[in-house]
Subunit: 274 residues, 2 copies
């Protein structure tokens, strides 16, 4: 594999598919200085002799807001902190991003770090949960130890997988808390949760994120229960059904054989997209 630039690459980057020296920018264009091989080699030699700067740097963490719906209630997974600071305090799962040596080996991406933490905390395989970046928190003093920039992600765990969530390898104490009954949290984590709640409550109205909280196969009332748990409000079953019917007509949802028995009329079973 070679970069799309016209000279040899210095280091191959599998994420971008380009050479990390020029990222395909230095093409053989005789008219422009930047297209010259000299510029390419000049930059390459700059990077070879690049002085690792002495300025202080922050630590970077990923923090996870892991949602699920259980018994028509929206819940968040929290862990009890074992060490200082906030020892014994409930907190969001998360940890430091691996940056390798920060030079030749630059470590894992933010998203990979979030997936890794999610797996460490829930033991659920990577494809089984929706995960999306939420917001980045960086107020000085949010961690009393040192300057920490926290990139928050939120994850959606389907309700049928919630019971499979095991305690992490480090045997930290974990618990699913209902969103209206959260304990006092460490750091600025309650603020992070506020932002996450605002995000999913807004987004569920126009994006198909509710599919991330139901099992692969579900009924209309189960689907509606997710909306009610997230929004913290009731939906008129008849009107909700009409919206559902439209998604069915659009092919977003397909009916599957079988019925789900309840205390009343049995419900048809559907399957979401992908």
């Amino acid at each position: 594999m070679t970069c799309t630039c016209d000279w040899n690459f210095r280091r191959w980057n599998p994420c971008t598919g380009l050479c990390e020296t020029c990222r395909g920018y230095y093409k053989k264009d005789p008219s422009g200085k930047l297209g010259s091989e000299a510029a390419h080699l000049d930059e390459a030699s700059f990077l070879e002799s690049y002085q690792k700067e002495a300025y202080p740097k922050p630590s970077v963490t990923v923090d996870l807001v892991i949602f699920t719906v259980h018994n028509t209630l929206l819940k968040i997974l929290l862990v009890k902190r074992k060490g200082h600071p906030f020892q014994g305090c409930w907190a969001l799962p998360g940890g430091f991003v691996d940056v390798g040596d920060a030079y030749k080996n630059q470590g894992e991406s933010l998203e990979d770090a979030a997936h890794r933490e999610l797996f460490e905390e829930t033991s659920l395989p990577r494809g089984s949960c929706f995960l999306e970046q939420l917001y980045t928190f960086g107020i000085p003093g949010r961690d009393p130890r040192t300057r920490v920039v926290g990139v928050a992600y939120y994850a959606l765990v389907p309700s049928d997988l919630m019971s499979q969530v095991k305690a992490g390898d480090d045997a930290a104490e974990t618990h699913w808390f209902e969103v209206s009954g959260l304990p006092t949290l460490a750091f600025d984590h309650s603020q992070i949760i506020d932002v996450a709640l605002t995000r999913i409550r807004g987004k569920i109205d126009y994006a198909p994120i509710a599919f991330g909280l139901v099992p692969k196969e579900f009924t209309v009332p189960e689907f509606r229960a997710v909306y009610e748990a997230v929004k913290g409000d009731k939906y008129a079953p008849a009107n909700f059904h009409r919206r559902f019917r439209r998604m069915l007509q659009d092919g977003v949802i397909v009916e599957v054989p079988g019925k789900r028995l309840t205390s009343g009329r049995p419900a048809k079973v559907y399957r979401g997209p992908a």
Copy 2:
């Protein structure tokens, strides 16, 4: 000023209004271990003796996507890089976040860093532009020098202030580029711009961000031109006017005296919220 905890604070944090040791968590609750003074003092001594960890850390930057609308076109402010890497290449304005010594003095917040960069680049006072966090980019190798986590912000410059934007103090070459005619950009900056465009094109439909791109006083056609520039599409003037009239009835917009002359019937002048 003291923390809302029941003991002395270690370091006062003006952002949170709490002591940075416990953030108000360690209250005098005789029943709980965490409420004990011993726990508070234990954590305080932990922080006193906290070892500055030896793990490599990433650099953190803020990158700015600065929008304005000029002659019915959506434009972005870019700077030409003076040094390596990507010397001579167009790039988003931005820079490293000041983290102080990262311990006792933790430096500036991400938002302050974004405001500072915005001022350095445009010379516009802090209150004159809308600024919001966009997304955080952290793929390894996005900067060939070292691992860099880039927190992107986007800013909206009212069209009447666009001409006041002077070159930054460092006399870097800057230029407003129309979004459909952007040059090849350094780093992953074209990807950042894609995200920013997607954000404002989606958000303008339900949030009042268009007010950030028009002068304080504006006409309906001027307001519509902002929507058309952002969305890259035409709006039926009559239907747009109806939406505008609703905002007027809701008090979001107020009419002000005067008329704006054009080549046809003069337009009334309005003023947005706040």
